[in-house]
């Protein structure tokens, strides 16, 4: 197709889209390289050669266990969750016409965490341990995820309702998100008290996220949901572009705006619910990924969606690797690192005209 297009199309345009494809490939390559580094990095001394051998299935027992059971699922979970949260944020920003939207800034993540906590503590879908190494064991991922999804969707419906009300500014919507988030966080904390008072301290990961908790089974579920959602978003990329031109314009271009909006928010909530129920709340990735790429590539969703996905994966993997290595062997909560990056960006967006420039 590209070849045939050259005749009728300004060369500049092909160069311009080619540049975007190049940047996306670059991000994916960087993520892959960082992934290899991340499998290496850590308190157990491994060399890249040993890691490579292990991945090819030619290593002795101890290495096998470290790489296959600990490092690799962790790296893959970071990338998967980063991709998921970032595309969810990207699509929410478009659907709500709000550049400050993301799963954590609108309280959707907190809603999901509350839902998951209800399933684990009240509905018995998991057990709460008093060790901080693995505070919560999820026995019934389906119930936990469904419950988390109910919490996420409840928040989303409130947000969607607010979006319909005339004259709600992006800032006001985020304020509402903060209120919802606090409400759900408070409810989660109260629930934890009912679990048992000694276990409260070990439940911190709900509020700051912990990628090390992901098992291969968790990873499979997350990867499946994220992959299908990403495909769904990509199929709708032209609809999202049309929405960027305004609601009336989109309708004029044949977009069923209400349906696209509701379905998109539904899928974004689902991604959030799955990730939060396995890893806890990881803030700001959904804001960081798309906002960085919007600045680099512009607002065309044909490129913005894959670029946000790649950037989200890269950022969360980088954050998690930093969290593991900066004061090794102590592992910091990854959500704290992402918040350190995200909060300044958020303030920047607020003060420097977050509008579409």
């Amino acid at each position: 197709m590209r070849q045939a297009a050259v005749e009728g199309v300004p060369e500049g345009y092909l160069k311009y889209t080619g540049r975007k494809v190049f940047i996306i490939c670059l991000i994916l390559l960087l993520t892959a390289l960082l992934g290899i580094y991340a499998v290496n990095a850590g308190s157990a001394e491994l060399s890249p050669a040993q890691v490579l051998l292990t991945l090819l299935g030619r290593a002795e027992g101890r290495l096998n266990i470290i790489v296959w059971n600990i490092r690799l699922p962790r790296v893959l979970a970071a990338v998967t969750a980063g991709i998921g949260l970032s595309v969810a944020g990207c699509v929410m920003q478009n659907l709500l016409r709000n550049p400050l939207a993301s799963p954590s800034t609108l309280g959707v993540s907190q809603g999901a965490a509350f839902g998951a906590a209800v399933a684990i503590i009240a509905l018995g879908a998991g057990s709460v341990q008093s060790t901080s190494a693995d505070a919560v064991i999820i026995n019934n991922p389906c119930l936990v995820t469904c419950s988390a999804f109910a919490g996420a969707m409840a928040t989303t419906l409130v947000v969607l309702f607010l979006a319909q009300v005339r004259g709600v500014t992006p800032e006001a919507m985020v304020l509402a998100g903060v209120a919802l988030g606090s409400l759900f966080s408070a409810a989660t904390i109260i629930l934890q008290f009912f679990a048992s008072d000694v276990q409260v301290a070990s439940m911190v990961f709900w509020t700051f996220g912990d990628i090390g908790r992901a098992s291969w089974r968790d990873l499979e579920i997350m990867a499946a949901v994220v992959a299908v959602s990403l495909l769904y978003f990509l199929i709708n990329r032209w609809n999202y572009n049309a929405l960027d031109g305004g609601e009336e314009t989109a309708k004029g271009l044949g977009v069923d705006v209400e349906k696209v909006r509701l379905a998109g928010m539904f899928v974004a909530s689902l991604i959030t619910a799955v990730i939060v129920s396995f890893l806890g709340i990881i803030g700001f990735i959904g804001l960081l990924g798309p906002q960085i790429m919007r600045r680099v590539l512009g607002g065309d969703h044909r490129f913005l969606i894959p670029a946000s996905a790649g950037m989200g994966g890269f950022l969360l993997l980088a954050s998690d690797t930093l969290a593991r290595t900066v004061i090794s062997p102590v592992v910091l909560p990854v959500g704290a690192i992402t918040s350190f990056m995200g909060a300044p960006l958020f303030l920047y967006l607020l003060t420097r005209g977050y509008g579409r420039r």
């Binding site: 009728g8 309708k251 512009g298």
Partner: protein
């Protein structure tokens, strides 16, 4: 006759906005809808694009019932330039390419890109191709939005007050572009207008709407001082200056 509207009625919460509106537009015609504020001009235009559905009446596009089509099919027949548009951070070329959306299945083909290039060339906007929308002036932006609607290759093009907020030069340029499109592409163009002088200058047919009902409809002959005064409630004279018809409020 490409667009025929018959007995269209619409009400917002039982307050009637359009009452028994009927008219027809031919190919190649620039059809202007005029009327006082709140007469229902924009509502009528939104009915023609099926953004809203009238309570009664029929709208046919070449004998095809507008309300029997899917939204996507409507978008292939009818282009719509809204009164307000948001300028996202996309290039002019991408913004116009969006007009191909109703025709695109999975991704833009070489033909889609070719059509966009042609439309930009016809409007003399080739050098703007890679400029960002949010860096354009009001007049340039309006032309891009019209280019998008033309790239849609509609049989009926609707424009809602396309010249409000434009300076004199851009008002003329935009209406010339639209008029040329009607002639060259042999499509029906329906424009909601406020400026009677611009309407007299560019439109072939006129629909005078008063409080949701058709006051008068036809060619230049309906633009009489009596009709205009009847619609706007202001006495006017219609004179010719330098061979151009002008409306002067008295």
């Amino acid at each position: 006759m490409i667009l025929s509207v018959d007995g269209v009625e619409f009400s917002y919460n039982s307050r009637p906005v359009l009452r028994d509106v009927r008219f027809a537009v031919n190919r190649g015609e620039l059809f202007s809808i005029l009327g006082n504020n709140g007469a229902g001009k924009s509502t009528l235009l939104r009915c023609l694009n099926r953004i809203i559905r009238p309570r009664a009446g029929s709208i046919l596009i070449e004998k095809e019932d507008l309300f029997a089509l899917t939204r996507r099919e409507v978008a292939r027949q009818v282009g719509y330039v809204a009164q307000r548009h948001e300028s996202a951070r996309v290039t002019v070329f991408d913004a116009v390419l969006l007009g191909r959306k109703p025709h695109i299945r999975w991704d833009a083909t070489a033909r889609d890109l070719e059509i966009v290039r042609e439309v930009l060339a016809v409007l003399g906007m080739e050098e703007f191709s890679l400029r960002y929308l949010d860096e354009l002036s009001g007049g340039e932006l309006q032309k891009v939005i019209i280019a998008r609607a033309l790239a849609q290759e509609p049989r009926v093009l609707l424009l809602d007050e396309p010249t409000s907020n434009l300076d004199l030069k851009n008002q003329f340029e935009v209406l010339q572009i639209v008029k040329r499109a009607a002639r060259e592409r042999n499509i029906a163009v329906v424009v909601v207008m406020h400026d009677l002088n611009l309407a007299l200058r560019f439109a072939d047919k006129f629909l005078l709407l008063k409080n949701g009902a058709v006051f008068a409809c036809g060619g230049r002959e309906v633009m009489t001082p009596e009709n205009i005064a009847g619609v706007y409630g202001v006495p006017v004279a219609v004179e010719r200056m330098a061979d151009v018809p002008v409306v002067v409020p008295l």
